[in-house]
Amino acid sequence: MYKILLIEDNPGDVLLIEEALREASIPYELTLCETIEAALRKVSEFTNDDPSVPDVLLLDYNLPGGDAREVLRLCRANAALSDTRKAVISSSLSPRDKDDALRSGAECFVYKPADLDLFLDEIRTAVVKLLAHSHVCDGEGAISSKFEETAACTDL
C-alpha cells in the first residue's frame, strides 16, 4: 500500500486523481489536505519512523490562501520526509512556475491537461515515475519493473 499525501482544494481534481491511481492499479492510501495551512501543519507533524510518512506527495501549485512553495520547503526541512517523492500539479504551463517548483524541492512538475484521458495519463505516469524511483519500491520488483517501461523521469 503506497501512502499518498494529496494537497488539493478542488474535489473534482481529487476524484480525477483517485481515478488515475485506480486505473494504474496502484494500491494506495490517500490523505487529503484541502488548504495550504492544513498541508503545512501536516507536513511539519511527520517524525522519523512515523508509519504514516507518505511515499508520494502531490501538491496543487495554485492553491488559494498561501504559497505552495512553502509546503515544498517545509518538506525539504523535515528529515522524516527525505524519502518522500514530491510532484507539483498545475494548470499553468508557465516555465517560471515550473522552475520555481523544481527549485523549491519538487521532483516532478505535472501539467493538468484539459482532456480527461490526457489528464489521467499525466497523473498516472507521474506517480508511477515517482514510485519507481522511491526506496520503498526497491523490494517490490514486480511493480518497479512494470513502471520502468514508461517512467524515465528525467526530472529526478
Binding site: N10, G12, D13, L16, E19, N62, S91, S92, K112, A114, D115, L116, D117, F119
Partner: protein
C-alpha cells in the same frame, strides 16, 4: 527741441521762389515815376506806384515790399517823414528804403540813414546803377522768403513728429548716445510719474537702470540695428518698479541719437504667469489622469488575466467530467441525452480555447522581458509551418515563401505573427479551392521591413476590414473554427515590435495581410 532730429518727417521745399516780388516807387512827379518804372520794368518785378507819402503808407499796410524807392522832396509829407512812419509800422519796419534826392547834403544823408535808409540815389538817376541796386534787394527778398518757407515747413514737420510721438501707446524717449534725454512724450510722464521738464537732460538710466550699452544697440538685427522687446525693470519716480519691455533704435541726425520705446509689461507678465500657472495645473492634472488611467488599465489587465485563469479551472472540470460521463454512462443515455452531453463537452472545449487565446493575447500585448535578438525570418516561418503541419496536410495548402531577411526582433512575437497569419489564410480558404499562400518581403522607402501573406481565400468585405484586428470580433459563423482573436494577437505583436499591420482584400478572391516593422527597433 531742435528740429534737426526729425529727419524722417520732413517735407519737400521749393528751392527757389517763383512769385514776383513787389517794389514800391514813391514820387510826387508823375513823369519821374514813369521814368523809374521804365528803368525797373526789365527786372520783371511787380511795380507799385505812389505819388504821395500818404498813398505810400496806405500801400505799405496792404503789401510786403522787397524794397521801396522814396523821393525825398515831396509836398505835404516829405520822404523822411514818410520813411519814419513806414518804419514805425511793424509790417514794414524792415523793408529796405532807397532815398532819391536831387542834391548831396551830409545832413540829409545822416537823417536818411538814421531813418533806416539803406542807400541814397542821386538825381539824375543812372539807370544801370538803379537797376543793379534794386536787383540786389529783390534777390535778398527772395532769399528771405525761401528761408521763411523752409522754416515753416520744418515747423510743420516737427508738429507732425510730435503728434506721432504723442499718439504712441508707449513711452517714447529720445536720448543721445550716452542716454541723456532730449525728448519724451507725455506717456513717459504718466508711466514714470515725472514731470517732463524734469526728465529733459537727465539720463534715461534713472527710468531704465538696465538701459543697454550703445554697443548692444548697434548690433544688427534682421531689420537693422537696434534692440527689440527687451524685458527690463522700469523705475518710477517714487522708486517703485514695474516690468517694462523696451525697443531701442538708433538714428543719425546731427549726431547719434536713440529712440527708446518703453511699454508697461505688467499685464503681459501677469498673463504669462497666469498661463504658466494654468499650464502647470494642466500638466499636473494630465499626470494625475495618466496615473489614474495606468492604474485602471493595470487593474483591467489584471482582471482579464485573473479571469482567464480562474475560469480555466471550472472549464477544465466541465470538459473532464462530461468526458467521464460519456465514458461511464453513455449506454444509459438516449439519443437526445447524448446530444446534450455533446453540447456540454463542445462548449466547454470552446470556452477553453477562448480562454487560452485570451491569455495568449494578454501575454503578447504586455511588454514582457523577451530578448531582442537577430532573428532569421525564414526559420520563424518554418517553425510556424511545422506547428501548422496538421492543417496544411489536411487542406493540401500550397505555401510559397520568398527568401526572408534576418531582422532584429523578438522571435516569439514573430512566430505568433506568421503562425496566425498563415493559419488564418488556411482557415478562411474558399470552398472548392486549394489554399494558395505566398509569403513575401521587401524594404520600405524608410528602410522598414515589409512582409506580406497573400491567400486565395474568401476575402474580407470592406466594411469588416477595420474590425478584423479586434479581440473576439469574428466575422464568420461556426463553419469557420476559431476564437476570433488571432488577428488581434497579430496586431498586438506588431505593435509591440513598433510596427503596423493592415489588410488588402478582394472579397471572394483573397486577402493580403501586410505588416511593416521599423528598421531600427528601439529596445
Amino acid at each position: 527741441m531742435s528740429a534737426v532730429i526729425t529727419p524722417n518727417f520732413s517735407e519737400p521745399v521749393a528751392e527757389f521762389v517763383d512769385e514776383r516780388t513787389k517794389l514800391l516807387l514813391v514820387d510826387d512827379d508823375r513823369d519821374n515815376l514813369l521814368a523809374l518804372q521804365a528803368v525797373l520794368d526789365p527786372l520783371g518785378q511787380e511795380l507799385m506806384l505812389a505819388t504821395s507819402g500818404v498813398e505810400a503808407l496806405r500801400l505799405c499796410l496792404e503789401h510786403d515790399f522787397a524794397a521801396m524807392l522814396l523821393d525825398v522832396r515831396m509836398p505835404e509829407m516829405d520822404g523822411f517823414e514818410t520813411a519814419e512812419l513806414i518804419r514805425a509800422r511793424k509790417r514794414s519796419s524792415h523793408t529796405p528804403i532807397l532815398f532819391l534826392t536831387g542834391y548831396r547834403s551830409d545832413e540829409q544823408l545822416f537823417r536818411g540813414y538814421d531813418l533806416g535808409a539803406v542807400d541814397f540815389l542821386f538825381k539824375p538817376i543812372v539807370p544801370e546803377i538803379l537797376q543793379s541796386k534794386v536787383a540786389a534787394f529783390v534777390e535778398l527778398s527772395r532769399k528771405e522768403q525761401l528761408l521763411r518757407r523752409k522754416t515753416e515747413a520744418l515747423e510743420r514737420t516737427e508738429q507732425k513728429f510730435r503728434a506721432v510721438l504723442e499718439a504712441a501707446p508707449d513711452a517714447m524717449v529720445i536720448t543721445d548716445e550716452n542716454g541723456v534725454i532730449q525728448l519724451a512724450n507725455s506717456r513717459t510722464d504718466s508711466l514714470f510719474w515725472y514731470e517732463r521738464e524734469r526728465l529733459l537732460g537727465t539720463n534715461i538710466e534713472s527710468l531704465i537702470p538696465e538701459w543697454p550699452s550703445i554697443a548692444a544697440v548697434e548690433k544688427t538685427l534682421p531689420n537693422g540695428p537696434g534692440i527689440s522687446e527687451l524685458r527690463v525693470a522700469g523705475s518710477r519716480r517714487n522708486r517703485s518698479s514695474f516690468p517694462a519691455q523696451i525697443t531701442i533704435s538708433p538714428f543719425e541726425a546731427d549726431g547719434r541719437f536713440l529712440t527708446t520705446a518703453i511699454r508697461d509689461a505688467t499685464e503681459q507678465v501677469q498673463a504669462e504667469e497666469r498661463i504658466l500657472r494654468v499650464n502647470a495645473e494642466l500638466e499636473k492634472r494630465v499626470a494625475e489622469r495618466t496615473i489614474d488611467l495606468m492604474r485602471s488599465n493595470d487593474a483591467l489587465r489584471q482582471f482579464a488575466w485573473a479571469a482567464s485563469h480562474d475560469l480555466q479551472e471550472p472549464t477544465r472540470m466541465v470538459v473532464a467530467y462530461s468526458q467521464w460521463l460519456r465514458r461511464t454512462a453513455l449506454e444509459k443515455l438516449d439519443n437526445k441525452e447524448r446530444e446534450m452531453l455533446t453540447f456540454v463537452e463542445e462548449n466547454g472545449r470552446r470556452l477553453q480555447s477562448l480562454l487560452e487565446a485570451l491569455r495568449e493575447y494578454i501575454y503578447i500585448s504586455e511588454s514582457g522581458d523577451e530578448p531582442w535578438a537577430e532573428v532569421d525570418c525564414n526559420a520563424v516561418v518554418q517553425a510556424a509551418l511545422d506547428n501548422l503541419e496538421g492543417a496544411i496536410s489536411e487542406t493540401q495548402a500550397d505555401i510559397q515563401c520568398d527568401p526572408l531577411p534576418n531582422i532584429r526582433s523578438i522571435e516569439i512575437l514573430l512566430l505568433q505573427l506568421f503562425q496566425n497569419l498563415i493559419g488564418n489564410a488556411i482557415k478562411y480558404r474558399a470552398a472548392g479551392r486549394t489554399p494558395d499562400i505566398a509569403i513575401t518581403s521587401s524594404r520600405g522607402d524608410d528602410g522598414s521591413y515589409l512582409f506580406a501573406v497573400r491567400d486565395n481565400g474568401i476575402g474580407i468585405e470592406p466594411k469588416h476590414r477595420e474590425y478584423v484586428f479586434s479581440v473576439f470580433k469574428r466575422l464568420h459563423g461556426r463553419n469557420y473554427a476559431g476564437t476570433g482573436i488571432g488577428l488581434a494577437i497579430c496586431k498586438a505583436a506588431v505593435e509591440r515590435l513598433g510596427g503596423r499591420i493592415w489588410v488588402e482584400s478582394v472579397p471572394g478572391q483573397g486577402s493580403t495581410f501586410h505588416f511593416a516593422l521599423p528598421q531600427d527597433n528601439i529596445q
